[in-house]
């Protein structure tokens, strides 16, 4: 459905070229939820930006990069085709910050009007709101600030579904939401995904969200894909030292001691990516080879020692 092939993106900054994403190859199966997980600086936002054509002006996509959507390279679309793609085929659900909606007009105007602009009838908007378990009569006359974060998030999802896209990108959809709200938003996402067979790409730093929603996960570290595996396998038997540290870093409500190895230090900045494997300065298992050769993704893991 969506396929990243050797995607590399640099940012031009006064100090030189900052490598945000390097040589990412990753595939999203149709009709499933796939997650890309990564911490700050991992390049996950840049990757989504590249899909949607929403990169900052100082971003440079390297020539060998291809992002294929149904065998069409998104990186070579004209601005007009790109707009068409964004409206018809893909849509995005952002973090449910207050700023996503215009604070001075009611949700009714924002949802119904933008629907009409693109040929979505008001009746369909009502239907979608009910699908995300919002009461249209209560939601539509309200202003954004009168809704809770969870309600805004559901309204955003309804809006994203208006044009019946094939691909929905969820960008940190539950960050800043409370546990109970998160739980039922996950339920709604799941329900809608199942009933309509949507393909979803979940971008997050939240392992809980991945565990709950995704069937397949890619792990990004410092601009590189270090591991890709089915969710269950990834949590039960993480293979890459970084994934092991990440999964093992979660304390548990049961009081079980976190088991993962701790990594030393911090992730490198974009300008100072180490040679060889990007993890090697922090990796407890690193050998000499790791500082020389970049490991390729083989069998779902990019590590010389696996």
């Amino acid at each position: 459905m969506l396929k990243f092939e050797h995607v590399s993106v640099d940012y031009l900054v006064p100090e030189g070229r900052a490598h945000s994403v390097e040589d990412v190859c990753f595939e999203l199966p149709a009709g499933q939820v796939t997650a890309l997980i990564g911490e700050s600086g991992s390049g996950k936002t840049t990757l989504t930006g590249a899909v949607m054509g929403l990169l900052a002006p100082n971003a440079r996509i390297l020539p060998e990069s291809r992002i294929l959507f149904r065998d069409q390279n998104l990186l070579t679309l004209t601005p007009r085709q790109l707009r068409e793609f964004r409206w018809r085929q893909a849509s995005m659900v952002f973090q449910a910050a207050q700023s996503v909606f215009n604070p001075t007009i009611t949700l009714g105007e924002q949802l119904v009007d933008s629907g009409l602009d693109h040929g979505c009838k008001p009746a369909r908007v009502h239907e979608l709101l009910e699908q995300v378990r919002l009461d249209p009569d209560r939601i539509l006359p309200a202003y954004p600030h009168q809704l809770s974060g969870g309600m805004r998030q559901r309204a955003l999802l309804a809006m994203a579904l208006m044009l019946e896209p094939e691909l929905v990108i969820l960008d940190e959809p539950t960050t800043a939401l409370d546990l109970i709200t998160q739980a039922y938003i996950f339920d709604i996402f799941e329900e809608i995904q199942r009933s309509s067979g949507l393909t979803m790409l979940l971008i997050t730093h939240d392992l809980g969200a991945v565990k709950r929603l995704a069937s397949y996960v890619g792990v990004l570290y410092s601009g590189r894909l270090v591991e890709a595996a089915p969710t269950e396998q990834l949590f039960a038997r993480p293979s890459h030292p970084y994934t092991q540290a990440l999964v093992g870093s979660l304390p548990s409500v049961d009081g079980a001691e976190p088991t993962g190895q701790r990594l030393k230090g911090q992730a490198p900045g974009l300008l100072h990516r180490p040679a060889g494997c990007v993890l090697h300065p922090r990796c407890p298992e690193a050998v000499e080879r790791c500082s020389r050769e970049v490991p390729e993704l083989r069998g779902g893991v990019a590590c010389h020692l696996r």
Binding site: E39, S40, S148, G150, M151, D178, L179, I180, T181, Q182, A183, Y184, F186, D187, H205, D206, L207, G208, A209, K211, R212, Y242, A245, L246, S249, L250, P251, S252, V253, D254, G255, P258, R262, L263, Q266, A267
Partner: protein
């Protein structure tokens, strides 16, 4: 029983119509780790501000040691015995000053014996000299949070109020920050008041300590962390635990998913409109906190 660091006696805090904190009593012993959990708007951060002494309770009183706070006894020693670590590590460090002067100025003003480098090393920022010459925006969230913790320990406080200190920090670095706080508690006898929405980190940091669960301004359950989480008694805590990813219980044991408006909370027990166990009594009478739970019909009885 050793004298408490901070004692709250029937404390309430109101902002206009909003009852942020209602009738909370609490005692924090030296070196103890107390964690308060709840969803946003439950009053846990407001309670933290009362403990810090930056908000004056509308009712009830706060004692530091055996001194009443806000009774003209707002002395330097009293004020500096409780320090803070905020959630937003960026807002809590002055953006236009280097780490060296953020930590160095209080050292100079209070003529402390320590140095900026020593302090930075004590919170694991190595090499200290490198970090001392940075501005806050040049550090990562985890590093900034370590600077905040270093600053909080400067005046050898008895208690540090930590309000969501790791929720802005990358997951793989959270544990190290929690470990640092734990070490300060164990080695230097600093008590911690850990405010969070994350039950797992609460259990991790406060292992062996106590937990308070808040809902709409009130403490609804409290006790030793392991007891509270392994044998939850309040229906609200049951719902919270059932909402955790990986612990699915569907449907959630709740009658309504949306939190009521905290400015206009329901009468009786504030949880009754959402509570699957609610009966007539719950709508009319508000339960007191008894034996660690504020509920007329708790689980496990």
């Amino acid at each position: 029983m050793p004298p408490a660091v901070v004692t709250l006696e029937n404390v309430s805090l109101r902002y206009g119509a909003l009852r942020a904190v209602q009738d909370v009593s609490l005692r924090i012993a030296p070196g103890e780790i107390v964690t308060v959990v709840g969803e946003s708007g439950c009053g846990k951060s407001s309670l933290g501000k009362v403990v810090l002494g930056v908000e004056k309770p509308t009712e009830g009183r706060v004692l530091y040691g055996d001194q009443v706070l806000h009774a003209g006894a707002w002395t330097r020693a009293l004020r500096s015995s409780v320090q803070v670590v905020h959630q937003d590590s960026y807002a809590s460090l002055n953006p236009v000053r280097k780490i060296r002067s953020i930590l160095g100025d209080p050292i100079r003003q209070h003529r402390l014996k320590t140095t900026v480098e020593e302090l930075l090393a004590s919170v694991g920022l190595d090499p200290p000299d490198y970090f001392a010459n940075k501005y806050p925006f040049q550090l990562s969230g985890g590093q900034r949070q370590r600077v905040s913790i270093a600053r909080a320990t400067l005046l050898s406080p008895k208690l540090i109020v930590a309000d969501e200190p790791v929720s802005g920090v990358d997951a793989s670095l959270r544990l190290a920050i929690l470990d640092l706080m734990r070490r300060l508690a164990d080695e230097r006898g600093i008590a911690f008041f850990y405010i969070t929405h994350d039950l797992a980190t609460a259990r991790y940091l406060a292992r062996g300590g106590r937990m308070l669960v808040m809902y709409l301004g009130r403490v609804v359950e409290q006790g030793p962390v392991a007891d509270v989480l392994d044998h939850p008694r309040h229906p609200y805590l049951h719902a919270l635990l059932a909402a955790l990813p990986g612990r699915e219980r569907r449907p959630l044991p709740l009658r309504s998913l949306d939190m009521p408006d905290p400015r206009n909370p329901p009468g009786g027990c504030a949880f009754h409109p959402r509570c699957p166990r609610a009966q007539d009594r719950c709508a009319s009478e508000s339960p007191e906190l008894e034996n660690g739970v504020a509920c007329w019909f708790p689980h496990g009885v």
